[in-house]
Each structure stands twice: as structure tokens, then as C-alpha cells.
Amino acid sequence: MEPMIHQACLYGSDREFLDMAVPFVRDGLADGEPVLVTTTSANLELLGEALGGDAARVDHAETAYYGRRTAQRATAFTRYWRRNSRHRRVRILAEPVWQGRSARDVLAWKRMESGLNVLLDDTGIWMICPYDTRSVGAGIAEDALRTHPSVCADGRTARPSGAYADPLDFIGRCDAAPLPAPPPDATSAPIDEINDVRRFVTEAAHRRGLTGEGASLLAVAAHEAARYLGMPLTAAVWAGFGSLVCDLRRPGKAISDPLAGFRPPGPVERAEDGLWLARQVCDHVDVRSDAAGCTIRLHASGPRLQTG
């Protein structure tokens, strides 16, 4: 197995994109390596035309749907590796959606970019992440140099990134701001027994209009997060715009691994599997430890979500 490579490619034109992407993909195909391209529909079209007949041998996904949230994205990459792990090398061209994202979303995706260095460290993935400097803000492009150990312009050669930051330091800065306090209308209760967590959360969700599968999945997420956190704890539920938020706080507890719950379950059960499930089911999961205890905050889609 080859060592993992994670590179950023800052490009400012279609030409620059293709100068990197075409050799990267073609070299992989020539060596019989699995190649996955997940980027915007515009770039998929560009690359498809440039590759001609070779495009048929490339795995592809429109990036907005290849892991809608960061934990799903990291899981998709891990699974792509696991499915192809008989190969020494697997190539992935991965360009996330950056435009139109909220500040919190941008932060979550930067955080994931940095986390991939740890999460995929034991894989043979060579990943290049293109950043379109025509559309991403300066802050996003600068942080790309902090979250990727090297940069690559031609799809072949690497130049170390001088700005690269240790992932745990970078993630620590992403998580530095404390979570906003629950609003005054939050429903809150101390809970001793784990099976009361799902009862409390389901009832509070029902009262805020979330029923059916949405409420069932939130109950599972809260139960699994509580299992990871341990009992007893204090739970709180409130409604945000478009979301239902559930806080679980356990005094005296700390969660030290900021990437817990980003690795999908394998054949052997691990403690973080439940947190992984919570992260898959929820739109966002925030974990914060401080001197007094640890909070896991789950954000689920609210009752008025329209799915077409």
C-alpha cells in the first residue's frame, strides 16, 4: 500500500483545472488504479470531454450529493477505499461545494479537510482537492494551504505547503468558539437512565411538530450520543430555523478525540460507532469539552423540511 497523499490545487481557470485533473486521472487509469472524481457538474462536464473514451472508466459523483454533510463525505471516502483496498493506490479528485455555504458550514468543511489527514492516514488514497479561486473566498483558499500537506498544479508533482497546520491544532481552532447557550424556551431535564433519553427527546420533538421517521431518527441519534457520552446527563431540546436541536451535557466528562464518529463501523464494535451513527443521521453534530464537562449538540432537520 502506498502512503496517503492529500494535496490542494488552487486553480483560476478551466485550463488550470484540466492541466491538473487530466494527467492525474490518466496516470491512474494507465496504472490500473481506481479513480473517483467528485466535483461540480461543470467540472465533470469539462473533464469528461477532455478524457474522451477514458471517461467511462472513471467513477464519478456530483459533489453536492457525494456526502451531503462532512461526516457522510468522510465515510464515503473510507468506503470507496475499503471497496478498492486490494489496490495499492486509489485516486480521488474531490472538490467540495464552497459557494453559498453558511459560515458554520464552511468551518465544518474546512475542519473535515484537515481531519482527512488523520482519518484516511491508514489508506492508500491519493486525494487532490481543487479550489476554484474564481469563486471561493480568500479565507477558504488560504485555509486550503493549512489543511493540505502539499499542493499540486500538474496532477503529478507535489510541492510542500509551508502553511500546513497540524490537524489537531487546526481542528482545535475550528472548535475554539463556545457553543451558543440554549435559548430560554428550550425544554430541559436531568436524565439518569439511558432509555429515558429517547423518551424525553421524542416527546420534546413531537411537541415541536417533528414526528414520524424524522423523530425516530433523532431519538436514535440522541440515544447513541448519550451512550457515547455516558449517564447521567442533562438533555435539552429546542427549535431553530429549519432545525431541531438537542443538547446532551454530562458534567465531569471530556471527549478528547475531535474526530470520534467520523470513521464508519467495521466488523468489530467500537465505542465511537454510535456517535458515527448520530453524525450520519444529523445535519450537524458539535462536541465540546470544557473544564466542567462535555456537551454533544445534535442538529436535526425541522418538521417543515420539504423533500420535493
Binding site: 421517521e213 425516530s216 440515544h223 464494535e269 454510535g274
Partner: protein
Amino acid sequence: MRMGPGEHRSVAFSDEAELEPVLAPFVSEGLAGRDKVLYITDVTHPAVAVGLLRGWGIDPDAHAGRLEVRALGTSDPDVMVAELTEAAHRARAEGYRALRFTGEMSWAVREGTETLTAFETQVQAVFDSGLAMGVCQYDRRVFPPVTLSELQRLHTGTDVDLEFDGALLRIRRSARPPGLDLDGEIDANGVGELARALSSAVRRERGDVHVDMGRISFIDLSGLRVLVDTATALAEGRSLVLNRVPEHVVQLIRLIGWDRAPGLRVRGGGARWSP
């Protein structure tokens, strides 16, 4: 399942390990309390039954005169009931609250269903007096299923197909389709019982094992893992079939990727979680 005087239950088992959850508390609660215990064997040698008790952490030697294990001396139901009545009165005279009786019922296979029904009906009168309580042991390997279900009527609160009756989860055997019916919620509290019931279902059945999930309102990742581990351990050609799986559970199974686990078949159509 804590029992009191007057109660008359049964336990159906396919191997001795299945006796433990019922008999071990039945005997040890009696000894910890104010009851006397009589254990009557039929095909099992009394020494083997003593060994079972020891295995469950109950030392018969430490309770000599209070815990008696002996072989059945007769096949006449009238004599059996008379002996039991006498033992119950003696226990009370000795200052005990009641007699806890448990016995192997395999003799009834030799004597026939009518004798068995006569015994179970008469013995009920002894329990009704409040002097005794009992657990009748039925070996599924020797009793026809029809007889077992008829016996259900004769025992209070009993259900020969009941494998586990917990606060949140109930597990019953099902004959058609062969496997288990689950009812309630599955989390760390019930997951051990579920694993045990599944593995005995896998041993009991020859082909596919079905699990009815239609009345499961909640299952967590540890419960799902027990299901998938059971499925993947099955021999080639056999499947664990999950029927009437609630929609959100189908979604969870797909998220984890276990819908592609070898040996597992997932069919939807179950209920929603509501507390």
C-alpha cells in the same frame, strides 16, 4: 420474573442452559427468603441436577434439609400430588413460608396426555392453597408442540414460547415462520437476551430464521449489530430474515451498509417509534 406462593408456571427448554434464567432465581430467591425447595427429577439423575444447581451458584450441601433434590418415585399422578401436598404442609409446619417445587415432566410422555392433564389440574389445587408454588419443566425435545401449547392453559402467566420477558423487551418463539417475534425496545438492556435467543433459534431451525420486528419501536446500534452478526455467522444458503422492519430502522441498516451483509434479508413495513 419474581414468583410468589400460589403461582404455577412452566418452562420449556431445548437444552439445560435455558433452564437457568427461570430456575436459578426460583431456587435462590426461595433460599434467600423463607421458602423450602423440592426439585424432582425424572430422566436426569439427581446428581446431575445437583451439578446444575452448583453451576448456577447454588450449593445444595449448604442448604441440607431445606433444598431437596430427588428422583421421581412414581408415575401415578394421584400419588405425586399426595406427596407434594404432604411436603407442602410439612414445610409450613417447619416454619417455612411455602414450598417451592420444580419437576421434570418427561414422565408424562410415557404416561400420556390425559395423565398429564390430570396431574396439572390436581396440582393446581395444592398451589391454590398458598402453601406452594411451582415450575414444571418441559423438554421441547420430547414433547410434541401441540401438547406444549395445551399446557399453556394450565399454568398461570406462562407462555411456553416466551423466551424473555423484560421491562422493555419481550422475545417469543414463532413456529410459522420459524424464528422469533420481538416486541418492545432493544438497547443494551435486552441485547444479551436477544443474542441468546437468536443463537438458540439458529440451532433449533434448519433453514432460514425469521425475526418479526413489527412491534419493535426502538432498536439501537448494539441491537442491530447482534442481528447482523447472527446473519453473517450463518452457513451458506441460510438467511436471517427481518420481517416488518420499521421504516427508520430500514434507513439505519442502509446507512451502516448492513443491507448488503451476507445472510441478512431486510423486509420493511413495521411500526414507528413512539414512547
